[in-house]
Amino acid sequence: MRSKKGGLYILWEYKLPYLFLVPSVILLIFFLALPLISGIYMSFQKISLAGISEFVGFQNYRLLVGEERFRNNLLLSVLYVAGNVGLSVPLAYAAALLITGKLRGTQFFRAIFLTPFIVTPVVSAILFRSMVDPSFGPITTLLEMITGKRYIILADSTLAMLTIIGHSFWRSFSFVMLFLAAGIATIPTEIYEAAKVDGAGAWARFRSVTFPLTKMHLAIVLLIITMWTVQDAETVYALTGGGPGYSTEVTAVRLFKDAFINFNLSYGATIGVFLLMLSAVFMALYFNLMMRGGELSQ
């Protein structure tokens, strides 16, 4: 932060900042912080359709955890996150290493690469649904050429899960790649030249220069992609609706269906608390990683 020495600043310094911030802070408190608290409160209530609520303690939690379907929802969320992160981060890192510094038409390619990130999720879900259509979808045809069998992709639980992971991978890959490429681009070229003078080969340069200096970027992008995937309900809902059966019903989709289609608000709120806890666990994990990464690179 820079210090302000202009005389007039001191006069204003005390009142104005609050005046400038008050509208947005009030909004954030009323529509983000308070709902967060009342969401936790709602999870301890049983709310009937007429709007009458009674306090039931941990009953919603007990009922959900005791449910086979909900335990499967949680497992699928972990699988979904692991699948998307496991695919997009390593591949995007490799791609970022490949393209950094070699981008002659940088702006042009950056814009093209980032389009999946801009595309409306419901639209890309429709595109993917038509690509796996059993009668004319190109992915169905490709799969038939490889396996010799014509699958109805969205009716097969494993293939449906792979479809939602593939779709998220398509949406996040280029974001991760450009994020990491921006990180790699900040490494001064002198370090590489010094390493070369010391006789370090390509692999040694990666291990001792590129990787340690981009650890922080890796941790941040891992966090961002994980959070996006954990809370993603709309692309999965638009692609499979959670089906066939419950085989792609990740936790966020379960929340969406319970709260906004079946209007079971107490279940919705309780699953919301579970999602928040899941996010908190991931955040703690990555922040820990980042702190350690920060120490190592110094």
Partner: protein
Amino acid sequence: MKAKDTISWIGFFLISIFVLFPLFWGIRTSLSPRYESSFIPSRLTLEHYQSLFTRPAFLFYFRNSLIVTLGAVGFTLPLALSGGYALARFNFPGKRFGILLLIFPLLPAIAILVPLVSYMYKLGVYDSFIALILTNSVFNMPFALWMLRNFILNTPVEIEEAALLDGCSRIGALCRIALPLMLPGMIAVILFVFITTWNNYLYASALTSSLSVRVLPQGLLSFIGTWGMYWEGLCAAGMLTLIPPLVLFLVFQKWFIAGLFSQWSR
């Protein structure tokens, strides 16, 4: 050196195919006659686009989406601008909590949506444009604020100080000197709010129930229900849905990308 270049170019090429194939497929399907099963259609037709314009539903949802999106942009920008200015230029107690703005966008919005629905119900705005504009604005506010804070931090404070010493009022200095300098940041924020609001399906489906306030992503999903697997028409509707965000993105991508990626490194 030459071999390395070739590998990079092959990489570029493969990534471009991967990234663009679904979009290419969407254009191909929207232009091909019905039940065309070969990869390259025998002829191209505009009938699916024409049929969209003869049905009132699509244009109606398009209009609704525009209202909500422009509303959210108009609502978020002034608030984020004044808040971001305060965070960048003033020192005051509690300022360090500003970092929370970067954590909020990562939290699962869907978890807050359940209580928010009953809030909106009590406020009497459930199932209205106001609820949609408010929700989209609030959920985009933290990141928008943070983006503008960083942009303002990067514009030199000395220019404002000089204007102040020359006798401009604080507000006058802000409007005439600082605002034009913040234009790239404002464009990035406008695009960010526009694209996320335009694309959002979740808040709309949670906060509305009647047809009259339905936005495009909801409309598209409902078409699957009413049209069945009419992929040609669905792809045509999808391609038209993509036009506003894609055009804005392609025109202003330089500022948008800079705004998007520089936020986490500070």
